[in-house]
Subunit: 207 residues, 2 copies
């Protein structure tokens, strides 16, 4: 079985990228990151990728602000395929993935979301959870489909919401779990351990 190859897309600091790159370096995850692409020219994720010796590239998403479509989409697809990646990992990528890219990598695009989906989709989930008065938050690694945070779930981690939590303290607690969950989910794929029981329900295969 050959090593799986990942293209990582991110718009920000790339802390989830780092958790994956470190898991690979430590030998905990048998995978290779072939390219890191950002739609933000000075995003920290590009700098961090370069430090790991990984090909890091800025590709503008213009003229759109919240999605990858048209010429930009074509460039993303071209660079990702050229890098040899089998899977796309969204690590804080702040644009919606449109059908052309989704189709090119069907059930091979992963995202992590800072809530126990289907609760609190969209942005600032931890703030939504606090305002709602929920007692549990968490994170979800899922395949990306046409919807917003609606794709089939690979794994989830739950964290309690404490009485004295602020948005900041809760977000930090969730991020600790994100950095465990994302490499773990990718490892399940790398080891061919996932089984779709239905179109939505994914379980772990044991030989």
């Amino acid at each position: 079985m050959s090593k799986i190859k990942l293209a990582v897309l991110g718009s920000g600091t790339g802390s989830n990228f780092v958790s994956i790159a470190e898991a690979i370096e430590k030998g905990e995850l048998d995978a290779e990151i072939t390219i890191v692409i950002s739609d933000v020219e000075d995003a920290l994720i590009l700098e961090r990728a370069a430090k790991f010796g990984i090909n890091a590239k800025y590709i503008s998403g213009a003229p759109f602000k919240t999605k990858i479509e048209g010429d930009a989409e074509d460039k993303y697809i071209e660079e990702i395929i050229k890098s040899g990646a089998d899977y796309i990992v969204l690590a804080g990528f702040m644009r919606i993935i449109k059908p052309k890219l989704l189709k090119a990598f069907k059930n091979r695009i992963l995202n992590i979301h800072p809530s126990l989906l289907p609760a609190f989709p969209g942005v600032h989930s931890w703030e939504q959870a606090l305002e709602y008065g929920a007692k549990f938050a968490g994170c979800t690694v899922h395949f990306v489909d046409e919807g917003t945070d609606t794709g089939p779930i690979i794994l989830q981690k739950a964290v309690p919401i404490l009485d004295d939590d602020t948005a900041k303290s809760l977000h930090a607690r969730i991020q600790v779990q994100e950095h465990i969950a994302f490499p773990e989910a990718i490892r399940l794929i790398a080891e061919d351990k996932l089984k779709f029981l239905t179109e939505r329900r994914i379980i772990i295969k044991y030989e």
Copy 2:
């Protein structure tokens, strides 16, 4: 501080009623159940209430099937107030509570829902969770407001969804937590431990 008095409304087997009545009998919960009312004449909850020596009463919800409104609502309010209850506990009561009853017991009606709300409101939440492919389920004790399963949350218990779960096995795992959560939430009220930090966010007071 005088003991809080509860009116319990249920349509089914009353397993949550039993968990509360037993917590009272064991001295774990300083409360009194003043009346048990069912909208189903032969509901097991009435039989069980009688065995605990509690006033058990059938009050029809006709002509409506899914709500308590009009004459039936007036009868419910009359019987609940006559019993001396301060709080209403919905223990598997399969009708929507309408504004008149809500207003008479504002923020004094409790419900338990078999999911980690706001995920999976409505009926058969455990089946919804399985079909969605979620990895966590649970239960939520909340105050009842005008919405369906939208009121402020008192507490939640999380349970994992396992790869070999069926609707039955998952429901059973959730019910174990329900029978812990409901008496626990009522005890927080009985001991005056709840504090509304906002209209939605409830925390526990410590002296």
